[in-house]
Subunit: 457 residues, 2 copies
């Protein structure tokens, strides 16, 4: 970038939008480092895992019904399902499936779930516009880069204020990805971003309700639409991101202008992406790890437990101190439920965070024994669970970096296991293995849409 | 309303959303005062006028092409055009047509253009779900009420910050209107509002570009979708508006909670709606009136003009001091262009604010003679134009309340004239008179969709 990115005239003229558009238009597969290519495939394995898991949630059943009344054709697959639909509806519905349990990936600096909107848009496109695997991977990498950089520029204020950042930034990612897949030039990529800038909706208030899925679906659908409109010459403003009334200023009082272009093409946001081992809020990961460890070595029974102490950064308490939850959704962010169910069952899968698990009275009793101990000196990635037995004895387990964190990423085999497990949990009837095999060598795939045929019934 | 509306617990529990939902679910046609019923019809006459005007703009041609690839059926009309499409696409595209020139109506307290999203959604619905004229009018009145009350609660901060309020609040209006037309109960209306709350996008930065039209179309389309989803049990949060991370707090730092329910059912927002006589920013209306008056009595020729002085509130200068505009769109908010073209041509229609008019070199020379004089003591509705002739003589015209303002509303015959004129300007080939006749007696219409058949080719 030539100009000082915080120069007011440069911002008004759209210097950041242009730089980002040029990056999307110019970057080739050979420019993407091997580690980033690999992470893209890992993200896709995780994507199909969570999309299969969510594919038969009641949210999806209802959405498929209503959206299905407005399908133009049947060129596109719904992951894990038998219905077919058109490109835009498939983009929306598959993004919903992948995100409905918040079990999808997490870009650590922003807590954006980057893959659902971007991958759903690209695979839907690929089913009617044939492309190679490496072309889809390149578009995916660039879409994630755009969404997460825009997210970096407005974080943490944007999410804290109440915007569902996966939705609001995801639409830019899907737009950039589809623009790349359609080989749009710099001007048209910029228009695609402009067309996306007016479609940034989604509220944190709706987490745990069906409404949330609409905005995640829209991010994929409307991002794709933004690019298709731009391809046909539907034009936008010069500075949709950095203009005086552009997205960045509207989304945050003090946007970090430099985040959009700093080390663009050298630092890759996908390398800050993580995958959840458990279908819970990420802050609960070390808590669940600790409980699994405690249970594995248990020389006590549940009846012996007098009290459970949970020590961690105050943020852990603020986000997860939720006694008396009533739904599976709520239980995904409840330390009380997580500790109780994992100590009782030694597992932390979708069944453990379901409406049925929440209704189990024995778990409620155990959950009532939890006490938080705040310690601001603890890193947020860490936690300690201590069980105080009736005998007075204590057993403790401290976790410094949870499974699935950047410090302890899930291994490829664990991601494959997750896909196998969730394909079964989601009742999709999809045979996971051929899908997994194909995804690990996706860069040499001739027909990117082939995996969609393996992911449907 | 029972509880103090700013009570934190009441807000958290969704007291405002519930009150609004109950109002939508319970209000009957007999509850709507005659003046409001009449204003609804006036709004619809103006709606068809501006939708016909915009129906063949290049923005629409491109959007119809791309959206047309994703039409499920052909049950719905595109105003002024020959193509047919499905309900959701028609809602989007007709809202775009009606708003593309910003020539549609203006709710004075918020500057929301309320009719485009609400009417476009309702007429699209009516073409596949037959309803009577009075049923559509009732749903329209309630939709406008919801959009504008939400707008009141976040104004003026929301627009000033950069949100395109017609789009962001319009989606609630369309959702409420379609929910009413589908006779949803209170709970489902509240869900429709929740589903709409995650679909509030649109940026002031995009005014004057094609991108703007996407969000106006989305307001209609996604509002309708929100209601259809709610009808099928797709549920939302309790407090999508007033919750801690709900729309109102996200949209404005200091929302006016009381605006949502104050005098609900007694004061009607539609009575604060106005219709533009000229296709320009409303602040230019008194300027154009003054120029038309000056020209009507002119004893001077254009060559005699030495300077033109425009006196008004500083806001007038801030919003309209735009010399050297290059497009018709930009000219709609340029005092320089408006003064020059109206003095030169004695008219202020779409032709006067077109790309062709902007390219006229004689107008540019005249526009260069304009000088602003700020006077903070002047009301924003007023303006004075003074022409200083080479002879030293001055002629002035001061306008206290512009045509089309709340103080000097357009007469019904003027609205009908506007429809006739714009049907011709928009090259739609639609015969305006039968449409006008039918709209003035719309409350006794058996088939609300009949007017759509008169408004297409």
């Amino acid at each position: 970038m030539q100009a000082d990115p915080v120069d007011a005239n440069a911002l008004r003229s759209g210097v950041l939008t242009r730089a980002l558009a040029r990056f999307v238009a110019d970057t080739q597969w050979r420019d993407v480092p091997a580690a980033v290519r690999n992470e893209a495939k890992r993200s896709l394995v995780n994507y199909f895992a969570v999309a299969l898991a969510g594919s038969h949630d009641p949210t999806l059943d209802k959405a498929v019904g209503v959206y299905g009344r407005f399908r133009a054709d049947q060129t596109a697959t719904l992951v894990g399902r038998s219905e077919r639909t058109d490109m835009l509806n498939a983009a929306a519905l598959n993004a919903m499936s992948a995100n409905v349990y918040d079990f999808d990936d997490t870009h650590i600096p922003t807590i954006i779930h980057p893959t659902a909107p971007v991958a759903a848009a690209l695979f839907a496109l690929a089913e009617s516009h044939p492309m190679r695997g490496d072309a889809l991977l390149l578009a995916f990498v660039l879409g994630v880069e755009v969404a997460c950089r825009i997210g970096n520029a407005v974080s943490p204020e944007h999410y804290q204020r109440g915007w569902h950042i996966t939705s609001t930034c995801g639409v830019f990612g899907a737009a950039a990805a589809v623009a790349k897949a359609r080989a749009l030039d710099e001007q048209r990529v910029a228009w695609a971003l402009g067309n996306a800038s007016v479609q940034t909706g989604g509220l944190v208030e709706t987490l745990g309700t069906m409404s949330k899925s609409i905005s995640v679906g829209n991010a994929a659908r409307n991002g794709a639409l933004s690019a298709l409109l731009a391809e046909d010459g539907f034009s936008g403003p010069n500075a949709p991101l950095e203009g005086e009334r552009g997205f960045l200023r509207v989304a945050a009082a003090q946007p970090d202008w430099t985040a959009i272009t700093r080390d663009l093409g050298h630092e890759w946001e996908l390398l800050k992406n993580t995958y959840k081992p458990y279908p819970c809020g990420v802050v609960l990961n070390p808590v669940i790890d600790a409980c699994l460890d405690l249970r594995r070595d248990a020389r006590w029974s549940l009846d012996d437990i007098e009290q459970i102490e949970l020590t961690g950064h105050p943020l852990l308490r603020e986000r997860t101190d939720r006694p008396g939850v009533r739904t599976g959704r709520e239980s995904q962010v409840s330390a009380q439920h997580a500790v109780a169910v994992v100590l009782a069952r030694g597992k932390a899968g979708l069944d453990e965070f379901s409406d049925a698990a929440v209704a189990d009275p024995s778990l409620r009793a155990l959950a009532g024994k939890l006490r938080f101990i705040d310690d601001a000196s603890w890193p947020v990635e860490s936690a300690q669970v201590s069980i105080v037995l009736r005998s007075g004895q204590r057993v403790s387990q401290r976790v410094h970096a949870a499974r699935g964190s950047l410090a302890a990423p899930l291994a490829n085999v664990e991601l494959a296991d997750k896909l196998r497990q969730l394909a079964a949990d989601g009742c999709s009837g999809v045979d996971a293995q051929p899908l997994i095999d194909r995804l690990w060598k996706f860069e040499s795939e001739d027909d990117a849409a082939a995996v969609m045929r393996l992911a449907r019934i």
